[in-house]
């Protein structure tokens, strides 16, 4: 079930930058869809809405890469469907979103390093570009699958063996951060709108 969720997230996340940008990768949509896949659409949508509101004022311009809200919401939804507590789901989703953005920066730098060689090949044959784009899409989807899967596995391990042994105040802090997220996101949106109106 977790592998299927990560695979679905890997496909949905392509929409964020690489393919089409139709908003199906938005956290609210991805969270609800992955929640529905795991049998908890409402929980997935709620978590997705929290990440949606947190990321609403981020503009994806100039190659900006702070964190991937889609991966955060998707991983969080996968975890919530696996029965993990909401505080830990939120923290795990956030960790996956930040890790994904770091690796995407590495991926982009690698593409830039091989750009001249590709251009030389593509000049001679138009088919080269299609193959390069296909490889780029496949490797990005694989990276998303691995990141969300690895973080989900790590969080599940912590949840099963360690989370109940953590001091109460740490678990309370994680729960407070998760429950505050929608309000922080809404205040960010309001401030962003007021700054630009």
């Amino acid at each position: 079930m977790i592998a299927a969720g990560c695979a679905a997230l890997a496909v949905l996340e392509l929409d964020a930058t690489l393919v089409a940008q139709t908003l199906v990768s938005r956290p609210f949509v991805a969270g609800a869809l992955l929640g529905a896949l795991g049998g908890r659409p409402q929980a997935g949508a709620l978590l997705g809405a929290a990440f949606e509101l947190l990321s609403l004022s981020d503009l994806p311009v100039g190659g900006c890469l702070t964190w991937s809200a889609s991966v955060a919401a998707g991983t969080g939804a996968i975890l919530i469907c696996a029965g993990v507590s909401s505080g830990l789901c939120f923290a795990g989703g956030l960790a996956a979103g930040i890790l994904h953005a770091k690796l995407e920066a590495v991926e982009r730098a690698r593409r830039a390093a091989t750009g001249d060689a590709l251009a030389a090949r593509a000049e001679a044959s138009g088919g080269e570009l299609g193959r390069a784009l296909g490889f780029s899409i496949a490797s990005h989807a694989a990276m998303t699958f691995v990141v969300s899967g690895a973080v989900a596995a790590a969080v599940l391990y912590v949840d099963r063996w360690w989370w109940t042994r953590f001091p109460d105040f740490i678990r309370a802090g994680a729960a407070f951060a998760a429950s505050s997220a929608p309000w922080i996101g809404l205040s960010g949106v309001a401030a962003w709108g007021l700054n630009r109106s």
Partner: protein, 257 residues
């Protein structure tokens, strides 16, 4: 350009950023999108085709939806370059290069503000609001209504702008850009941003009525603190970290929960 050719170029433009990199940005994706048209235009001239591919593999960057209008204008100019020769061809090729750079940057500013800065947050927030409202008023399938609202509100204008951009760019060339600049886009952007602020307040209201008085007070405090910190440049992620640390400290000291 036949409708079939426009559909092929359009479908390929959906992969504009599939090989985005910091050096060439959307260049490889743009060259991939134009490939069928370049092969048609430069069918009898292999050297011309290579040169055309080379110039489109160079750095190019704009908003993904604005790329459709740019592609329409560039396709028209490529067709003109292919049927001309000598100095006229060189002038057209130079025009393609300069136009891509200037048009890309100009349109990016306009489209980023409208689509990323206005329509995207407004439609996403409308989706969240629709789900909240459907849940609040007892409609079935509240989440489906929310998803549908967000996707339709964003994608109908976005795909209309894509199709119109490619068609009018091809038919009118640079005239299409002049016509675009006459549209009241800035007032639309301002309206969308005001709608986002109003939507955020309404969403807070819907969320608040679902909570008890004590939770409502906490939510109000977090919202007020978030507004204060956000206006002072704190990112949402930094605020989440601050909230987590604050929650731990309050719990450790015995104030919460």
């Amino acid at each position: 350009m036949t409708p079939w050719m426009k559909a092929r170029v359009g479908a390929r433009l959906l992969l504009l950023q599939a090989r985005w990199d910091p050096a060439r940005m959307q260049g490889p994706g743009f060259a991939f999108a134009l490939e069928p048209w370049l092969e048609t235009c430069w069918a009898g001239d292999p050297d011309g085709l290579r040169a055309a591919r080379r110039r489109h593999l160079e750095y190019f960057n704009t908003h993904p939806i604005a790329a459709w209008l740019t592609a329409g204008v560039v396709c028209r100019l490529e067709a003109a370059a292919a049927v001309s020769s000598g100095a006229a061809r060189e002038a057209t090729v130079a025009k393609i290069r300069s136009l891509k750079t200037s048009l890309g940057a100009t349109l990016a500013g306009l489209y980023d503000s409208f689509f990323w800065g206005g329509l995207r947050p407004a439609s996403a927030l409308a989706g969240v609001l629709a789900a909240q409202a459907a849940y609040h008023f007892g409609f079935a399938h509240a989440i489906r209504w929310g998803l549908l609202t967000a996707l339709v509100l964003y994608n109908v204008p976005a795909f209309a702008a894509r199709a119109a951009g490619l068609r009018r760019g091809w038919e009118e060339g640079e005239g299409a850009v002049v016509a675009l600049c006459r549209l009241p886009v800035q007032s639309c952007i301002l309206g969308l941003r005001r709608a986002v602020v109003g939507g955020a307040v309404l969403s807070f209201g819907f969320g608040a009525v679902l909570h008890g008085r004590e939770e409502l007070m906490t939510a109000g405090l977090v919202f007020a603190a978030g507004l204060f910190l956000a206006r002072r440049g704190w990112s949402p992620l930094a605020q989440i970290g601050f909230a987590g640390a604050g929650g731990m400290a309050a719990s450790f000291a015995g104030f919460w929960p």
